[in-house]
Amino acid sequence: MKKLRKRKLGDWVFDIIIYVILIALVIVTLYPMWYVIVLSFSNSTDITKYTGIVLWPERFTLGAYQMVFEHPTLMASFKNTILVLLGSLPLSIILTVLCGYFMASKGMLWKKAVVGLIMFTMFFSGGLIPGFLNIKSLGLYNTLWALIIPGCISVYNSIICKTAIETIPESLSESAYIDGANDIQVIFKIILPLIKPTLAVLTLYYGVARWNDWFQASIYIKDTNLLPIQNIIRAVLLENDIALNSAGVGDNFNTYAETLKYAAIVISTVPILCIYPFLQKYFTKGVMIGAVKG
């Protein structure tokens, strides 16, 4: 009896420690984002008064958000990011499915060679300058195509797709072949409907990668009006590019010059943060495949 009670007390302490650690983790994870949100709902004079941990805006205002929507450079950069997404997502998904289908198919004489050629690019690349010179020689430099085409297939994502296709019973596609269907019809009529969850996760992965990319644009794009949102945030927040700041319009620009930056961060980050929780249960598979099979 005594032993039982003792163990229960131990369990209690154990549980408390676990919950305290996890709640601390949640706070530490969320606070930086919360801080940005609070600043985005403040005005520039108030944030100079914020010291230490800020929990709530001094005077709640939507002024900074209004500024974002009136700021020509920011709006142009949002438009560029969306254009890149619209162009690259369909391309990525189509090519990834094709690549995954080929990898999952059996019996081709050249399969090993082709798959080997594709996989090799995971481990070795031409590097920064040869890649840059290639984009220049293809005439893609300083166009949005340089942000759409390079990187539109990830081998890693193709392997995720291949594994999803492999879970479909072969008898399904075989009976389709007997009915006279070719591989393209099999992909559209049988494979695609059955791997919808995987397609959703792949869309998320590709979308997030494009939406968050700044490096590709920083080397392939020269004109400011073609830069995506991340590069503008970088210019404004990390390099204090004044020219970009004063490009804003409106009489009360100075009131929100500082907080405008944070509003831009919120607008560029929140959409993704609202989407990923819905696909959470599918993450496990992809991560496992990635770590085990490269």
Partner: protein
């Protein structure tokens, strides 16, 4: 000769039978050839004194001169040391964190709490590097939150990102923040594969929960941990440029400049194309050798390797 004929015949039959499959992979193959293999051919400029105006065919060949220049470069040891240091620090401090988190999350019995913690812990993975670094930058300013704490404990206000000795702590702590949740997914998946009956048996034998973690859960995770660790060790000399490019300043180059950022500055800022390519190639070759070794070791130890 007959071999060749029969091969030709086989190839013909194969092509007839699988023509749609080859048709399907054609655009994919074209992409890889144009955007991956063509730049690989471009590596030859590492052995040239390349001038963009005359191209690869017109530029003079200089053998290993660029590599010699790099090995004698005053920054050679600096970038090598920094690359190794940044990588080693993340292995020592960041790598174990997701394991700990997975162990802790695994102990939570309340389902909604478990799921909420997981969802929130994945969040940093989806925040862009630019935004993460902007927040770091904002926290490290002289009037930022970190300085408030330093002042509270009697320290002096400084811009932390300009301080050489602060670079590694900032890099590593933010790295933990970014990766702890997402990287725990794989361990949680491995944990779900552990036979639950073992826990029953341990409870009957009177083992406490800590005891169960040490004797059942941790050994169950060991194969995953050792495989990931070996692969991580294999990429010890590959440190990405994104975060460092966004966080370092000339004041911190001494500790923060790694091979990849050096390649970036030499190539795109100084436009020393051939030299930059040579440094990049040196790094790629080392990485691939290390990875092959790591893969071998992983297989020797009975784990599944990469290939």
């Amino acid at each position: 000769m007959s071999n060749l004929v029969s091969f030709g015949k086989r190839a013909g039959q194969d092509f007839k039978k699988n023509k749609y499959k080859y048709l399907i992979v054609l655009p994919v193959l074209a992409y890889f050839l144009i955007f991956h293999y063509k730049p690989m051919y471009g590596i030859v400029i590492a052995f040239q004194r390349f001038r963009a105006s005359v191209g690869i065919s017109g530029s003079p060949w200089i053998g290993l001169e660029n590599f010699r220049r790099f090995f004698n470069d005053i920054y050679f040891w600096r970038v090598l040391r920094n690359t190794f240091t940044v990588s080693a620090l993340t292995i020592v401090f960041s790598f174990p964190m997701p394991i700990l988190l997975a162990l802790i999350i695994n102990e939570v019995q309340v389902k909604w709490f478990k799921k909420t913690v997981q969802t929130i812990s994945y969040m940093p993975h989806f925040i862009s590097m630019v935004v993460v670094c902007s927040i770091i930058n904002s926290f490290c300013q002289t009037n930022g939150i970190l300085n408030e704490m330093i002042v509270f404990f009697g320290g002096e206000r400084t811009n932390l990102l300009s301080e050489k000795e602060m670079f590694y702590p900032i890099y590593v702590i933010s790295d933990i923040w970014q990766t702890i949740g997402w990287d725990s997914i794989i361990y949680l998946a491995a944990l779900s594969g552990i036979d639950q009956e073992q826990y029953e048996a341990a409870r009957v034998d009177g083992a406490g929960r800590l005891r169960q973690i040490i004797s059942i859960t941790l050994p169950g995770l060991l194969p995953t941990i050792s495989m990931l660790l070996i692969l991580r060790l294999g990429s010890i000399l590959s440190v990405g440029y994104e975060k460092i490019l966004l966080l370092y300043q000339p004041l911190t180059y001494e500790v923060a400049d790694v091979i990849s950022t050096y390649v970036y500055r030499k190539g795109l800022v100084d436009a020393d194309f051939s030299f930059s390519t040579a440094v990049g190639l040196f790094n790629s070759v080392i990485n691939i050798v290390f990875l092959l070794v790591a893969n071998k070791v992983s297989k020797k130890m009975g784990q599944s390797g990469l290939f």
